[in-house]
């Protein structure tokens, strides 16, 4: 069973953290992953940096620009992660844009992920229909879970389709925004969380975008299975590097 599915089966509100590979320093990747597992985080999204990250706000963009300047590449990330399963068991997801994966070769990329022990992928600019038509077989062949985003604007009909194609969890974007935009949730978000809960989807839901502290984590996970923190954690890394991750996690839950 895929580590993501195993983790989702546990009776708890999952905390997933995102960081950009190659940031703040080129070779922080493994240390950050190990520290996150050690401090009780449930799942990790490793950001594969891209020059033109359309769905991201300034914090993650900036971290991507710096990571690329530091010298991060797809090949180097795979090299850094080649022995990662000797030291951690936490579910690992690579989050990145589709072009670098296309250039690596989609099948070669998926095969490499399986070899390393990556459990899933989040590719914001690979639409569900394209995936379903052209790539689903490849992803499944290599045991990878592909995670799709939904937003408050996504129709119920489309959510049902996304649910039918998904086999891990659904990534609920909290509001119509790029990453790192909001610091509080209002009634709009609450209604959205409740609306999705009422759909009784087969896949669990995890909320992302706009979660930065205990309050937003608690609110986001009331009706869902967990939450993802990205920009707030990047800011922590900017100030502290891979150290002090325990303090960051304690402030969330």
């Amino acid at each position: 069973m895929n580590r993501i599915n195993q983790k989702l089966a546990e009776d708890k509100k999952l905390l997933s953290l995102y960081f950009t590979a190659g940031y703040p320093s080129l070779h922080d990747t493994v240390e950050i992953i190990q520290n996150l597992e050690q401090h009780g985080v449930d799942m990790i999204e490793i950001g594969l940096p891209f020059s033109d990250p359309l769905a991201d706000g300034p914090t993650i963009q900036e971290s991507s620009t710096i990571a690329l300047k530091n010298g991060m590449t797809t090949h180097l990330l795979f090299e850094q992660l080649k022995d990662i399963r000797k030291s951690v068991n936490i579910p690992l997801i690579i989050m990145g844009y589709f072009n670098p994966m296309m250039q690596y070769g989609v099948e070669a990329f998926c095969a490499k992920c399986q070899e390393i022990g990556i459990d899933g992928l989040i590719i914001p600019d690979l639409p569900v229909a394209e995936y379903h038509e052209h790539y689903q077989e490849i992803f499944e062949k290599y045991g990878l879970i592909n995670v799709f985003l939904i937003t408050p604007q996504t129709s119920n009909e489309r959510i049902r389709f996304i649910d039918s194609v998904s086999n891990g969890f659904i990534y609920m974007v909290s509001s119509a925004s790029t990453t790192g935009a909001k610091s509080t949730f209002g009634d709009t978000q609450q209604h959205y969380f409740e609306r999705i809960e009422a759909l009784q989807l087969k896949n669990p839901q995890i909320v992302g975008f706009g979660i930065s502290n205990k309050d937003t984590f608690t609110q986001a996970t009331k009706n869902t299975n967990g939450a993802i923190i990205g920009s707030a954690f990047i800011k922590h890394l900017t100030q502290n590097g891979p150290k002090g991750i325990g303090d960051f996690v304690k402030n969330i839950r």
Binding site: L54, L68, Q103
Partner: protein, 393 residues
């Protein structure tokens, strides 16, 4: 061979809509409605009326006698430079603002490189009384001060794109991010035949007025609708798409595309996307783009700010791959010389983008009785500073 986008927005292998889910409702709303809107009689009437009375269409098809003599062939210039705002860009912004109105949008965003599309967008927003925000790379804002001033005078807000390389591709990213954050009230007017479906097709259709006019104008002048060649410069490729559109299915009409080679195709400072690009995804579209082997999008270079886009519209990628189009690339030096030549032979100072198309005679020999139509996509006023620097005028 079919050169129309299919219903998913593909021209052969290129096109589609590779967009984050956050953009899906906006793009889907547009996709499901644009053709119906464009086919409404009231839309056509308003579009035609504005193109005629406001833009000044039809633009002349001018027989360039001295240029023809010099190059020993028959050259016609399609005078998009005489449009209101000085380039072909306004054909598209007029069309899209009318679409936006019918979609009930009350806020317009746009990206701009040199500022021509920004000015054309600010112009139609002023015309319709709609709020306008133009994203422009921080570096371009400094390079193109007169166009920034024009946009401000027209009532638009110009926002600096400070991410990445701070030029056109980053301005496009910022505009897309704005659209993600404002999904309900905003329409994004993309300025070239790029972006996620339906943009390449919609922009091409609005620009297709160029080739529609060439057909009847040439019939009047030469007794035949089809020239032997149509020539246009390509950055993203909107003027080229419009110039080719009604000739794509006419195999006897040669399609010639001229890209910017910058300081030379292999100099490391070039924008010759078809030569240097590989298949990939940029701004929501599968096409040819300049990138590193790792899939990071690279920054192109051309002396012409309107041609330095790292991708090319999906229609053009298809024309390239299927060999329907002949692709050439022209250096800064040759383009500047061609601009000077046109100025002195015909009394027309072209935009540097258009000068690239005019430099085709260096690479391609035409027969004396060939009819060659070149799209003169814009006028040179905006480039005067560059011409002054280059020729020490």
């Amino acid at each position: 061979m079919n050169y129309q986008a299919n219903e998913k927005g593909y021209y052969g292998d290129f096109g589609g809509a590779y967009i984050p889910e956050m953009l899906y409702p906006n793009v889907e709303e547009l996709r499901s409605k644009y053709l119906d809107i464009m086919n409404e009689p009231s839309f056509k009437e308003e579009f035609d009326q504005l193109l005629r009375d406001y833009v000044g269409r039809p633009s002349p098809l001018y027989y360039a006698k001295r240029l023809s003599k010099k190059h020993n062939t028959k050259v016609y210039l399609k005078r998009e430079d005489l449009n209101h705002t000085g380039a072909h860009k306004v054909n598209n912004t007029i069309g899209q603002i009318l679409v936006a109105k019918r979609l009930g949008k009350n806020r317009i965003i746009a990206e701009t490189g040199a500022g021509q599309h920004g000015v054309a967008t600010a112009t139609v927003c002023a015309l319709m009384g709609i709020k306008c925000i133009v994203y422009m790379g921080e570096i371009d804002i400094k390079r193109q001060a007169p166009n920034v001033a024009r946009m401000k005078m027209l009532g638009a807000e110009v926002r600096a794109a400070k991410s990445g390389s701070k030029t056109l591709k980053d301005a496009t990213n910022e505009a897309i991010r704005d659209w993600i954050n404002n999904p309900v009230d905003t329409h994004y007017i993309i300025g070239s035949a790029i972006g996620p479906h339906p943009y390449p097709d919609m922009v091409t259709r609005f620009q297709s007025i160029i080739s529609e006019e060439i057909k009847w104008q040439l019939k009047e002048k030469e007794g035949r609708e089809n020239p032997d060649y149509v020539v246009a410069c390509i950055g993203g490729g909107s003027n080229a798409a419009g110039t080719y559109y009604h000739f794509l299915e006419e195999p006897k009409v040669g399609i010639i595309a001229v890209e910017a080679a910058g300081k030379g195709v292999h100099s490391g400072e070039s924008a010759a996307t078809s030569q240097l690009g590989k298949e990939g995804i940029i701004h929501g579209c599968k096409t040819l783009l300049m990138q590193t082997t790792d899939g990071q999008i690279t920054e192109p270079y051309s002396i012409s700010a309107g041609l330095d886009y790292p991708g090319v519209g999906p229609l053009h990628a298809h024309l390239y791959k299927t060999n329907r189009g002949e692709f050439y690339s022209v250096t800064d030096e040759d383009a500047m010389a061609a601009g000077l030549e046109l100025s002195q032979l015909e009394g027309i100072i072209p935009a540097i983008e258009s000068s690239h198309a005019l430099a085709i005679f260096n690479d391609k020999k035409f027969a004396p009785d060939d009819i060659v139509v070149i799209s003169l996509s814009g006028r040179g006023d905006k480039d005067l500073d560059t011409y002054i620097d280059y020729f020490k005028l």
